[in-house]
Amino acid sequence: MADKKAPTARSLSAGVSLREVSPAERSWEEKTLEPTLKKSPDRNSDFTTVSSYPIRRLYTQADLAGWNPDRDLGAPGAPPYTRGIHATMYRDRLWTMRQFAGFGSADDTNRRFRYLLSQGQTGLSVAFDLPTLMGYDSDHPLAEGEVGRCGVAISSLADMEALFDQIPLADVTTSMTINSPAAPIWAMYLAVAEKQGADWQKISGTLQNDILKEYIAQKEYIYPPEPSMRMVTDTIEFGAKHTPKFNPISISGYHIREAGSTAIQELAFTLRDGIEYVDHCLRRGMGVDDFAPRLSFFFNAHNDFFEEIAKYRAARRIWYRVMRERFGATNPRSWALRFHTQTAGCSLTAQQPYNNVVRTAVQALAAVLGGTQSLHTNSLDEAWALPTEAAATIALRTQQIIAHESGVTNTADPLGGSYFVETLTNEVERGAWDYIERIDALGGMVAAIERGFPQREIADAAYRYQVAVDQKQKIVVGVNDYVIDGKPIETLKIDGTVGDRQSDRLRKLRADRSNAEVERRLNSLRHAAAGTENLMPHLIEAVKAYATLGEICSALRQPFGVYQEVAIT
């Protein structure tokens, strides 16, 4: 299965050539293994991960020749952070259970948020609808049929106020999955916090704000890379000064993986995106240790248990080296890669949906054994629709069972020192470095994106996977094997009147606010956008006058232009 040209295969053969087997292992091969294979050969000629990465029959000490546990493994909470970023990991504090939610209107989602908090969820995570993600108001013609369907519709500060009604922003942490319009949405959140009397210096949460992976994978972009990177840099710079506990960016591999990448590609492209953001902040004149401690990451948890665990461990080790060696960071908080994990939406099957509970549990366990800081577990019905309350509750309970019943939280990095896990961590790391070096050679990630490099690598991997599933080289239970005719499950229905209700709200908003003031503040935003100053203060002023998201994004389209991708198929 493995493409001989892929860097993964090269790394592996390099690893194998170093393998020197001990006399005891040689004797086992001759006396035990060979007779066994003669009697009952392996059921497949190749064993590979879900990413088609080759896995050998057995891993022993011989696979770790040259591996130095003091240098390469270290201790939890200490460089190179392979074993996790906290000395005591989950003995001190469990990960944040953060279930992504959002549908319909701000009122609808506010009710779901308050329900989830009442059920023991420890952080909020906002899913926005597609018009909001693309910077359109709910009453824009292109929003027709899409308002409130894939998330909550937020067109103005008034919607944001309703979204967090009776939820004190001083006490909860909020993650917001928004990218192209991240800066204006964050401005709305900061304005709500201010109105509630919450101190910006103390509020905490995460803005996804990762535009590079939008060009690479999820494709929710508005503006071209250059002005988009400027806005990301503006938010990081503003956050470093005014919201020191807020993560202004969550550098995301999740969507890269969902688009069909391998685990190594997910890791490599995400970390190389991280390097690109750091480069931009340094060019802005910021000191690396002034912002790097607040950079956060977001990875996928896919089906292949050990490959995922190796990926998280390798991520920390690579980022440590990047921060220390490439950027000269001296603050240990800059060296430690903190990350959120979401189980793999693309692994959920529409067929026999209850099986998804099991898939999600296995994936979540990998994230925890990999040392995640926060986790979203998908609901069993999400191959069909946004989750019902009942399905979302099981997903949250899955995390609680891992946390409180499985025992895996009792010790830090329980898999540390496993021949297989350490070898796979080394190999995944090497594969990722290969990609990072290739992207460096292309002139960085923006240049690589413009040439379609990561997009093509992902499309190739996605197609290879589909062929493997179609040919049953990879079994997907309930889809290409163990198939039965099942009954459809109950799914969440989105109230069809959300679009109309949102349009009414917007009409009223535009009638009640001072339109002259809105125009004045939008003009000042346009003017600032044409220059080089930080846009955050202008955005905050604009949203406070109830300028809508669509008006703000449209005002920025004039100086910034719009992005058209070259589609790669």
């Binding site: 597609l130 018009p131 993600l133 693309m134 359109y136 292109l142 929003a143 027709e144 049929g145 899409e146 369907r149 894939c150 939008e214 999820q218 494709k219 929710e220 972009y221 969902e258 688009a259 069909g260 693309c346 099957t349 529409a350 067929q351 191959a383 069909w384 629709a385 499309a459 996605a462 197609y463 589909q466 062929v467 599933v469 179609d470 997907v476 889809v479 290409n480 459809p488 799914t491 989105i494 991708e565 589609a567 790669i568 198929t569």
Partner: protein, 133 residues
């Protein structure tokens, strides 16, 4: 004319940018010997209908995951009828609730392929359908 290639327009309507499925299908149909035109993202029904006419395609394949299928498909089928393109086969691949399938088929959608469909099943369906029409 056995050497005439089947022409397929793969379109991604609506605001959603998740194009993994559209791209995989485009490549699979191309590997099966069809002529595939991929529209790229965020196509309105108007853009899809005029691309279908311009490219003179036998098949339009829509990839929709966002829940906006009823709005999009109703409009597209109206436009195709208005432009006299009644012989084009329109297919949907993506996430479509069971409850909406009958309505979509009634509006003229030839088939709806749900998650888990093999690319071969889609290739076979298109070959059979285009041979008949």
């Amino acid at each position: 004319m056995p050497d005439k290639k089947i022409r397929v327009l793969i379109a991604k309507p609506g605001l959603d940018g998740h194009d993994r499925g559209a791209k995989v299908i485009a490549r699979a149909l191309r590997d099966a010997g069809m002529e595939v035109i991929y529209t790229g993202l965020r196509q309105t029904p108007e853009m899809i209908a005029s691309a279908a006419i311009q490219e003179d395609v036998d098949v339009i394949g829509l990839s929709i995951l966002s829940g906006a299928h009823n709005t999009i498909c109703t409009r597209l089928m109206e436009l195709l009828r208005a432009k006299g393109m009644t012989d084009v086969t329109v297919l949907i691949g993506g996430i479509i609730p069971e409850a909406d399938i009958a309505g979509l088929k009634k509006s003229g959608i030839a088939e709806i392929f749900l998650p888990g469909t093999t690319t071969q099943a889609i290739v076979d369906f298109i070959r059979e359908r285009v041979a008949v029409t």
